[in-house]
Amino acid sequence: MNPRAQLRRLPLNLAALAVFVVTIFPVYWMTSTAFKPSGDINADTPVFVPTSLTLEHFRTAVAADGFGTFWRNSLFVTVTAVLLALLIAMGAAFAVARLRFRGKRGFVLMVFIAQMAPWEAMLIPVYIIARDTDLLDRLAMLTLLYFIFTLPFTIITLRGFLAAVPVELEEAAQVDGCTRLGAFRRVTFPLLAPGLLATSLFGFITAWNEFAFANMLIVKNQEDRTLPVWLSSFSNTFGTDWGATMAASTLFALPVLILFLVLQRRVTTGFVSGSVKG
């Protein structure tokens, strides 16, 4: 590129740089604070590049009351809910994408409505239902809720991915002697795997993030709390120890960020085909 063209592109690249900095800075500030020595954090002039790295804050966060338990709770609830949703959604998506039956339109409409349902508006009835079915203060109730939160989205996305797999492939396998289920398992499922991964990431984020119900439904049994609730009350735990707080936030964000980096390419595709193209 000649210098003049480069000069003309300068404003654009500067704008891009600005967007980059504004977007990334909060995440950078979280991780850098988490790894900075306390002296850097408490300096009057913010230290943008840490003078040295330390795991001290992570030690504080991990040693904090119940952190390990809450982390495990969150992971358990999230993973169970996502796997359950994938399993159930696979069946439903298969029915919608491959089979003909009366009431299909109604079912799809229901799924779309459920995806946008104002769950937060139903805190109290859900609380009452949980109490009446003896599920209050139980992780099982949260798991069930997160399952239903992620299910509609999972169905919609999987249906999109399924529709992209030519039905002829399955039929060919059936001609070659596979049962319908066998054809699905041997032919379609492997093709679906990337879609499943991307979809599960979205479910994972939803469940991992959920706060309102976790805050409301786990009251007496503190052992069963999840990370978001714990993180929200960090000031009780840490006062103004920002290093430890940011270390805890980093640990909270870590599973999502790792999953995201691993799946990034597939995810950006899923982003679009999932939530917009349905």
Binding site: A16, P26, A95, F107, M246, K277
Partner: protein
């Protein structure tokens, strides 16, 4: 098949042309789809429809802490709605919710469009850089982001105050953002916009990339100006996606709860009390479960209108269910 020569029975008028299958086999074919969707339907009925109906029921009852513990709530008709709708507080909250939603959605969609258009024009390296940053911001869990913003805007040692002081705004030395209503509101807007722009930007950008570059080239050859191309090509292409993103963001921003609750619990002086936060306050702090139910029912109705627009747009774009 043309080969079959056996004489056929004449079909009676109105009789099905289809060959009757073996009864057992046919049954299983018809049953399968329903078995496959049954768990989903059950889940939605138990965890969505039933709570919704229960919510409506609550909103017509006198339901406080006593009724929660002992049961036996009495039916009071429209009393709860009357109490809500005649009070000034509720209307303040509704108005604030509308302002909150408008400000956020306008900012999100405008910024996302700009970012998407920018991404389209960037070179490869820069684009990957910005996309990764967007993805990272998008993937940061809500509560982690909320905590980060509390730290960014902390009155002591907060990096934002430091930057403002460096820029010459001495009054921000040790300024406590979370004590002032407007300031807290603004921080929440920045937080929500920061969290929402990546999704919208990437979605709009993907829509832009579906247009073959040749169309733009030929338009340019025909002498179209940048502005003309934007107006006559980009805007029409983006319109359907725009509608979807708009509806999605309206619903998401409207429902937004954890960020507000964790940062300010609706304060200071109710400056950040939107409808979901208000419902939570009424229920959890004041134990007026009946009022909460009435307010939630109104919220659901409001959202249903937006949802209807969204679904109509979605299905129009999809063409089929």
């Amino acid at each position: 098949m043309t080969l079959s020569t056996a004489p056929r029975k004449v079909r009676a008028p109105g009789q099905e042309l289809r060959r009757p299958a073996a009864p057992g086999r046919r049954r299983s074919v018809v049953l399968w789809p329903y078995l496959l969707i049954a768990p989903t339907v059950l889940g939605v009925v138990f965890l969505l429809v039933y709570p919704l109906l229960r919510n409506v029921q609550l909103s017509f009852q006198n339901f406080g802490l006593a009724e929660l513990i002992r049961g036996g709530a009495e039916f009071v008709g429209f009393d709860n709605y009357r109490e809500l709708l005649t009070g000034q507080e509720f209307w303040d909250v509704v108005q604030r919710t509308l302002i909150w939603t408008t400000v956020n959605v306008v900012l999100i969609v405008a910024l996302a469009t700009l970012v998407a258009l920018m991404l389209q024009r960037l070179g490869r390296t820069m684009r990957i850089l910005v996309m990764s940053a967007l993805a990272l911001a998008w993937a940061t869990p809500i509560l982690a982001a909320t905590t980060i913003f509390q730290w960014l805007f902390a009155s002591r040692l907060g990096v934002v105050n430091w930057v403002l002081v460096q820029l010459g705004f001495e009054s921000y030395e040790g300024y406590s953002w979370f004590a002032d209503g407007t300031a807290t509101f603004s921080i929440l807007v920045i937080l929500v916009v920061w969290q929402s722009v990546p999704f919208a930007a990437i979605t709009i950008y993907s829509a832009l990339t579906t247009v073959p570059a040749e169309i733009y080239e030929s338009a340019r050859l025909d002498g179209a100006s940048d502005w003309r191309m934007f107006r006559s090509l980009t805007v029409p292409i983006l319109r359907p996606i725009f509608g979807l993103v708009l509806c999605l963001e309206v619903i998401w921003v409207f429902k937004c709860f954890p960020q507000i609750w964790v940062i300010s619990e609706g304060g200071p002086n109710d400056a950040t009390t939107t409808l979901p936060v208000y419902a939570y306050q009424v229920a959890v702090s004041q134990q007026h479960y009946d009022l909460q139910a009435a307010s939630s029912t109104i919220t659901v109705l409001l959202l249903a209108v937006i949802l209807f627009v969204y679904l109509r747009q979605l299905f129009r774009q999809e063409g089929e269910l």
